[in-house]
């Protein structure tokens, strides 16, 4: 194995090195890391996250991005990843469900509240609910029931009542 690696090492520089041209692309920050997308500028962010970066926490939902499965934060606001072509994302800061916890592994209060309220069905829609909830809490730190009613997410396992409790728990408001 080591020998094979040694054979794969490049030989000594020959002196005629030509610097690579600067590659054109779309620069963005995903979960705190810098990336440059050099592929199709029309590729939706969802497929960039899932197929290119292999960040699969953001899920495929409906084609119109209305049911909340594919929500991510772009510059802090919840948006549907399937509706965002990469061309629109130059210079943006994208946060996916994988980027919600702190670097030390401690969870965002809403993530912890989902665990504490067992707001888990099959779990497929949970990332979208978390992004929508965090977006809501950033706008309304003490959301009312009416505010929570406006979340776009859909779920078939029926976790909505537990999501409501989790958001209130994270916000520190009475259930």
């Amino acid at each position: 194995m080591q020998q094979a690696q040694a054979q794969g090492l490049p030989s000594a520089p020959t002196g005629d090195i030509v610097p690579e041209p600067v590659r054109e692309g779309i620069d963005l920050i995903v979960n705190g890391e810098r990336f440059r997308h050099t592929g199709d500028p029309l590729m939706p962010l969802l497929w960039y996250l899932r197929d290119v970066l292999r960040l699969t926490g953001t899920k495929l939902g409906d084609a119109h991005g209305e049911d909340g499965y594919d929500l991510v934060l772009v510059n802090g606001k919840a948006v549907s990843a399937i509706r965002q072509p990469m061309a629109k994302l130059a210079g943006t800061r994208v946060t996916t469900v994988e980027g919600l916890a702190h670097a030390d592994g401690s969870l965002h209060p809403l993530q912890q509240a989902f665990i504490d309220e067992d707001a888990i069905g099959c779990g497929y829609c949970a990332p979208g609910w978390l992004i929508a909830g965090i977006d809501l809490l950033s706008r309304k730190p003490k959301p009312s029931d009416e505010d929570i009613d406006k979340l776009p997410n859909r779920c078939r396992c029926g976790i909505q009542t537990r999501v409501r409790r989790a958001i209130k728990r994270a916000a520190g408001v009475k259930a």
Binding site: D40, K59, Q111, C122, G123, P127, D149, R154, R164
Partner: protein
């Protein structure tokens, strides 16, 4: 999987010495010699043929055999094992097991026994055999401690991952597993713990995957990939029996990244759910976006087949209504007790009503998908399935591989609701993988799940009741028409009713004269199992109708129900077992007490109630609702369930609240309609699941403590939610909704 070390088995349970002295225990089939894959003895638990593995550090791995589609099996099943093992739950890691299959004389042997979810039998099956797996591991560890310490085994006790001596010394399991793995297991089943000493069963436990889910680390089948694999997306024929009229593949193939365009179609003579659901053209590409772009460029024409052309949901409903109005013989007379004519002569009143419920789609969150790698003599798949053994059968038929050369991994599944008991998408993926020499990940869109589904048939119920002079229902004559889910699936014609009607459903056994007739509708639209059926459609009709009887009698509908149920007693069920009327009365009392039913008459909000029983489990809903103009506000929902012993109360509460919301969502808005054989709901704007605002803010769940053997509960709370709501809506608005979806009908009648 190559043949590894051999071990001899003396009885049902397997014991293995793992590497590093780990103790491995599993429940297996009853063969004498079983080849053990080398991975079984390493750290790769994913391929273990066992349920329990304890290492020298005291870490416990427990395998969960039934897929978890959000039904909580990945938490509940391992806790049943951990209870008997006396494990420290904080040291337990749950591993989702893939399909356990071995070959015996060319036939498959299911190593893990029961592997299916969402059919209500995961917990009863686990109760029957998984407790022994935990008990055996504990017994072996105790024996090892006894030998080391020179203390009789029956004087030692186990507690939270420790063996405790009579004088209070504690020895961690990890220090004993190496010796334990060398001890011969006993020849007879081991005694199980007394429920009085349960430390885990009956205590609340959060979902074992919760942290992975909220951090986006939980992996679903759709998230799996091979670096050298292709992504396949489909253009599906709108008609299941249609065909390709013309195709031009060049524009799709011209898209960068697109590798191949392959037409597929259902195989002749193969039952639904085991082959492609409809003809389709697959676009295979290096990544999803390229595949979708290629799909957009595909030029093709589909044409309808002979049987689907002319299919119309409106016409089918009219046909059903007409059928139930005639005196034509039913397809099956499911129940017929007493003398209808004689009872009819004693009538003081007659009540009659007709209920119409629409076709529904499963609308699973995770779309249909399947990852498959075909090598020369083996297949490796990642499948979101509720029934891995059925998925195996599809793969085996299409590949001809030996039973044990098909490996199926089942990660957490993004919702099932009965849809993933069928494996059309597995067949499609395998067909495509056979046509290219690369792994294939097939991905449907969510919308394709609406237009290509094994639907829940629409139903029409017509019920007539004869009321005697003492206000008793003396005769109940019920007719139902539906297109049976089991048609075309190798089920005898005289058994097709079993997917449409439950023989013992209310009020069977409670009314002296009772008839339940089922009429089969012919339809070319695909149908299949659907969460909670046949209870959901029948309970809506029956429990709405009981309210109509109450209204006719001008009395409190709770009084009508109590009179119909009568005294607490046992009534034999046709399928064995007993209907325990006392338990049904109890859940009814619990919900009506909680919602303060005594205010039924004077409350400005409407109150509704409904109760039901399924296979020895009992459920009741009480709902309070009010209309604000055209807006329906579901103010309060209370649900009580009696499921026998509760394994995980937190998980059960989640199942009950979840099924309640799912049932309400299904009743409020959506309907599948079809015209000329084509489904008209093309996306979720046309098939609206309930929004957060439409649903109640809370579901109050009451669990009845009970020490009977546990029953399944994943759909128990489905049937009574919609009729309780319709009954509350009647009180709130004076509008009786006899047709679903509820909101559409309510707004029409208001």
């Amino acid at each position: 999987m190559s043949t590894g070390p051999q071990f001899s088995r003396r009885r049902f349970l397997q014991v293995l010495a793992g590497t590093a002295g780990a103790l491995v225990v599993g429940v297996g089939h009853a063969d004498a010699e079983v080849p053990v894959p080398p991975a079984m003895l390493g750290d790769d638990f994913g391929q273990l043929g066992a349920y329990v593995r304890i290492d020298r550090e005291g870490n416990v791995l427990i395998g969960a055999r039934d897929p978890d589609t959000g039904t909580g099996t990945a938490t509940a099943l391992p806790r049943i094992i951990a209870e008997e093992l006396e494990a420290d739950w904080t040291r337990v890691t749950v591993v989702q097991l893939g399909l356990g299959v071995e070959a015996k004389e060319g036939k498959p042997v299911w190593v893990y026994g029961h592997q299916r979810s969402g059919t209500g039998d995961s917990i009863p099956a686990a109760w029957a055999d998984l407790r022994q797996a935990g008990a055996l591991a504990r017994w072996l560890i105790t024996q090892a401690a006894a030998r080391r310490l020179g203390i009789a085994a029956d004087r030692l006790r186990c507690e939270a991952g420790m063996v405790v001596t009579p004088d209070g010394r504690r020895f961690p399991y990890g220090s004993l597993v190496e010796a334990a793995s060398k001890i011969d297991p006993p020849n007879a089943p081991l005694p199980l713990k007394s429920p009085r000493r349960y430390a885990l069963i009956g205590q609340p436990a959060g979902d074992v995957d919760a942290r992975r889910i909220v951090t986006g680390q939980a992996r679903y089948a759709l998230d799996a990939h091979y670096a050298d694999g292709l992504v396949a997306v489909l253009d599906q024929c709108p008609w299941p029996d249609g065909s390709l009229a013309s195709i031009e593949t060049a524009p799709a193939l011209a898209v960068k990244g697109v590798v191949k365009v392959i037409p597929i179609k259902p195989e002749d003579g193969v039952p639904p759910g085991e082959t492609a659901i409809a003809p389709a053209v697959a676009v295979l590409a290096e990544d999803t976006w390229s595949a979708l772009r290629g799909l957009a460029e595909l030029k093709r024409e589909w044409k309808p087949g002979a049987s689907s052309a002319g299919q119309d949901s409106g016409k089918l409903e009219a046909q059903a209504l007409a059928l139930l109005d005639t005196d034509s013989a039913p397809t099956t007379r499911v129940r017929d007790e007493g003398d209808l004519k004689a009872a009819s002569r004693k009538a003081a009143r007659r009540v009659e009503a007709t209920y119409v419920q629409p076709w529904l789609a499963h609308a699973t969150p995770e779309p249909m998908n399947c990852l498959v790698r075909l090598d020369k003599d083996q297949a490796t798949l990642v499948v979101p399935t509720q029934a891995p053994q059925r998925a195996w059968a599809v793969v085996q038929r299409l590949t001809g591989l030996a039973p044990d050369k098909i490996a199926i991994e089942v990660p957490r599944v993004g919702g099932g609701y009965g849809r993933r008991l069928d494996h059309d998408y597995v067949a499609e993926a395998v067909m495509l993988a056979k046509a290219v020499d690369k792994p294939v990940r097939l991905m449907w869109t969510r919308e394709q799940g609406l237009t290509h589904d094994y639907y829940r048939s629409g139903t029409v119920h017509k019920i007539k009741a004869v009321i005697g002079r003492k206000r008793h229902v003396i005769a109940w004559d019920q007719r139902m028409a539906s297109a049976p889910a089991l048609a075309g699936r190798g089920i005898a014609a005289d058994r097709l009713w079993t997917s449409e009607v439950a023989a013992d459903q209310l009020p069977a056994g409670l009314v002296p004269t009772y008839r339940n007739d089922w009429y089969s509708l012919a339809s070319a639209m695909p149908r299949g199992p659907f969460r909670g059926e046949p209870h959901v459609t029948n309970a809506f009709a029956v429990e709405s109708f009981v309210d109509e009887i109450a209204h006719n009698l001008r009395e409190n509908p709770l009084d009508t129900r109590l009179r119909q149920l009568g005294d607490a007693r046992q009534i034999p069920l046709s399928g064995g077992g007993m209907l325990d009327v006392g338990r049904l009365l109890n859940v009814l009392k619990l919900v009506t007490d909680r919602i303060e039913w005594k205010n039924w008459l004077h409350n400005v909000n409407g109150m509704g109630v409904a109760c039901w029983h399924i296979d020895g489990a009992y459920v009741a809903h009480a709902i309070e609702a009010v209309m604000h103009g055209e807006k329906l506000d579901i103010v309060r929902v209370v649900c009580a369930v009696d499921v026998g012993r509760v394994i995980n109360p937190l998980g059960l509460e989640g199942q009950v609240a979840g099924a309640t919301l799912d049932a309400l969502s299904n009743a409020l808005n959506p309907a599948i309609t079809f015209r000329n054989g084509q489904v008209q709901q093309q996306d979720f704007r046309d098939y609206p699941l309930a929004s957060m605002a439409q649903l109640p803010n809370d579901v109050e769940v009451i669990l009845v403590p009970n020490d009977r053997a546990p029953t399944g509960a994943s759909f128990l709370a489905m049937p009574t939610a919609a009729p309780a709501l319709a009954n509350a809506v009647f009180r709130a608005s004076a509008v009786r909704v006899r047709r679903l979806p509820l909101m559409k009908e309510l707004l029409r009648l208001l």
